[in-house]
Amino acid sequence: MSSDKRTRLTTRRQFLGAAGLGLIGLTALGACAPAAPPTPTPAPKPTEAPKPAATSAPAVAPTPTVAAAKPTEAPKPTAAPAASPTAAAAAKPAAGSGKLVIWGYQSFTPEGDKLLGEQMQQFGKDNNQQVEYVPVENAVFPQKLAAAVEAKAPPDVDMFTSPDRALYWQSRNQLVDLTDVWNSVSKQAGGFFESVLEVYKADGKYWAIPFETDCSPMFTRLDLMEKATGKREPPKTMDELYEVSKKIVNPPSMYPIGITLGRVPDTVGMMLNLIWCDGGAYVDKDGKKPAIKSDGTLTAVKRVQLWWKDKLIPPDSPTWDDTGNNNAYQSKQVAFVINPPSIYDWLQKNDKELLNNTTMAPLPAGKSGSFQGSGSWSWSIFKDSKNVDMGKALITYLMKPDNLQAVYEKVGGRWYPVYKDLKSKEYWTSRPHFKYYPDMIANGRAISWPAAPGAQLMQAIGEVQTNNVLADMIQGVLIKNKTPEQAVDEAQKAMEDTFKKYGLG
């Protein structure tokens, strides 16, 4: 018995030993997996990163010399960078230099991402700096960024798709003050459009640099307008839109008003635009209190309710995501959609005939007028970056008007210039579809309107947007049979709860 037990003990040890050895061997095998690149880049930012200027200097200190340093002298990759990506990548970084990592949202075309990456490589080559541009899938960017920040491994330079996202990270003390870069780039080419001037400011400093503007015009089928009214012109008022839609409607193949009603950003943006047109807004003038409960909001909600009851909106619209209205317009199932110009790019590539029968018009005027939001995408630098000055120099380089315009042209019109003078470039003037754009951008409202954008306010509204409060409001009326008054009351309550978290309300 005891001998048997001894035998068992011995074999167990042998077993565990063998298992341990196997484990080590297999781990090594895994580490040698062929997919590993020849020079893997595990650590995004080695500590011995180059410091083009005094990195120890406070980030707030203006460093115009750095910001405007080499890129200005660099060969200009305007329409297309001179160096091929391969050549650029081959450029040897200075000894001991670290990689400058940039994360961007995917633009709306692969060509746009490619050119942006090439411009960055060109910058890297000119500055003997290793640069890596990572276009991240849009849907998961926030999660990926949150994980990276938590792990203290955020990218050096990061793209944001709205001011509230930038201010969110600023409020968590994660961003570098970019006032010096702002001062050096904001006056170029006629200066920034007014709509971006205040939205990136908090505590008197700028935390992101906008590189494009955008808005959501109303795509309008001019051929159907002509058939219904005899004129190839978009409807000028909401009442006109309603009347003409009643003439165009032809279920099930045509529900003219293709607005998105799902719990998605398109719905939120569209509802806010309609509310503005009827005189409502998210907040009061001081930006202290939610003011969604208003006659203007009620009018807008009742308007959509009327469209819905009259079957002018596609019945599956409450299930749409952000692609729903694109699909509906591109498949000719609707006559009007409110959307950024990603549809324009698709039409250019796939359906010239529909493109010729389309215009991108301002929203029809409601009781209060015709208003829409104007957004912008921007660059920021994370505080944990070891390459702050190089990051600033890169942003300054990317903000060169010629560089920007080259990228805009590759993004198929989805990004409109942030600089006023660029609107006169032949690319824009030769495209009649963009004829309303300068006015729409110039008069575009920030989501905080009528209040001035402030860090807390922008974050509070940002959360309201993320929580789809306006989408829930309209779905409450259309799907859950609430009265417009009930739904608006609930939206007000939801906003007040959110605002309290930010010390507002």
Binding site: F15, G22, G30, A35, P40, V140, A147, D266, K332, D345
Partner: protein, 265 residues
């Protein structure tokens, strides 16, 4: 019975057919012709997917990750299962339960801590990081599955081998494993499929196209609110082929493995 099978077949195969039909339509027809049979067939989406996107790189990465993860999961899972089912040591039951609990923790809770671990290992943006990460859910599954199977194998078989001079490891390799092939096949299949389909970790840990797996590469084809349906459908169809092949090859053992232990002899 036959009617039920027919309904199930239609339920299962129509989406696949729809993917195939969409992948063969022109861009315009995808939006304008909601028909089951494409009026005009084109292979353009396949050409674009194969030659204008890094699809083949994504595919290679997926194969590498899935194969390596499956192999490692089987080795570790088998050894762990053997220890739990055969060896007597303190905490054995606790470990057995912990394995199941580990398997049940959702990835959405783990991805931030896992990011920190993978970052510390210097494996961000590297498929090896995915291989290491995927072991966190494939090994517990393999262990749990194989433990159940081993418990149904008469211990006398090993004891006979030990009496004949085998060590524990030899008994495992020469006696237990050969009669556990069905369980091994199931474990391999599930590990392969889970690794092949995994999305969240791959999405968060990988940024460069050269390291992306198919699931993440596929979503990367989407541009904002514009879906390139044709190339996405073509890529989905081609990307589904490896798991289908694995299923076809291992079908016989899988059926036996899934029913293992259902009837005790």
């Amino acid at each position: 019975m036959a009617g039920g099978i027919l309904v199930f077949l239609v339920w299962t195969l129509v989406p696949v057919y729809w993917i195939l039909a969409t992948s063969l339509k022109t861009d315009l027809a995808i939006y304008r012709e909601p028909s089951l049979i494409p009026k005009q067939i084109t292979l353009e989406h396949y050409r674009r997917t194969l030659f204008e996107t890094p699809f083949l790189t994504f595919m290679r990465n997926s194969v590498e990750v899935a194969v390596v993860t499956t192999a490692l999961a089987m080795v570790f899972g088998t050894l762990a299962a053997y220890a739990i089912s055969r060896l007597q040591f303190r905490g054995r039951q606790w470990m057995a339960r912990a394995v199941v609990i580990t398997y049940l923790v959702p990835g959405s809770l783990l991805f931030i801590p896992m990011f920190q671990v993978v970052h510390q290992l210097g494996l961000i943006d590297n498929v090896v990081g995915l291989m290491v990460t995927y072991l966190t859910f494939t090994v517990p599954f393999a262990t749990w599955m194989v433990t159940g199977y081993f418990r149904n194998i008469p211990v006398e078989l090993e004891e006979a081998a030990l009496v004949d001079g085998c060590t524990r490891l030899q008994a495992l390799l020469r006696v237990v494993l050969p009669i556990s092939l069905p369980a091994m096949a199931v474990v391999a299949l599930f590990a392969f499929t889970n690794s092949w389909n995994e999305f969240l970790y791959a999405l968060v840990f990988i940024g460069r196209d050269s390291q992306k797996t198919l699931t993440v590469g596929l979503i990367g084809l989407v541009r904002g609110d514009t879906f390139p349906w044709g190339p996405m459908m073509a890529a989905s169809l081609m990307g589904a082929l490896p798991p289908i092949l694995v299923y076809i090859i291992s079908q016989r053992w899988v059926v036996a493995g899934l029913s293992a232990g259902s009837v005790k002899g």
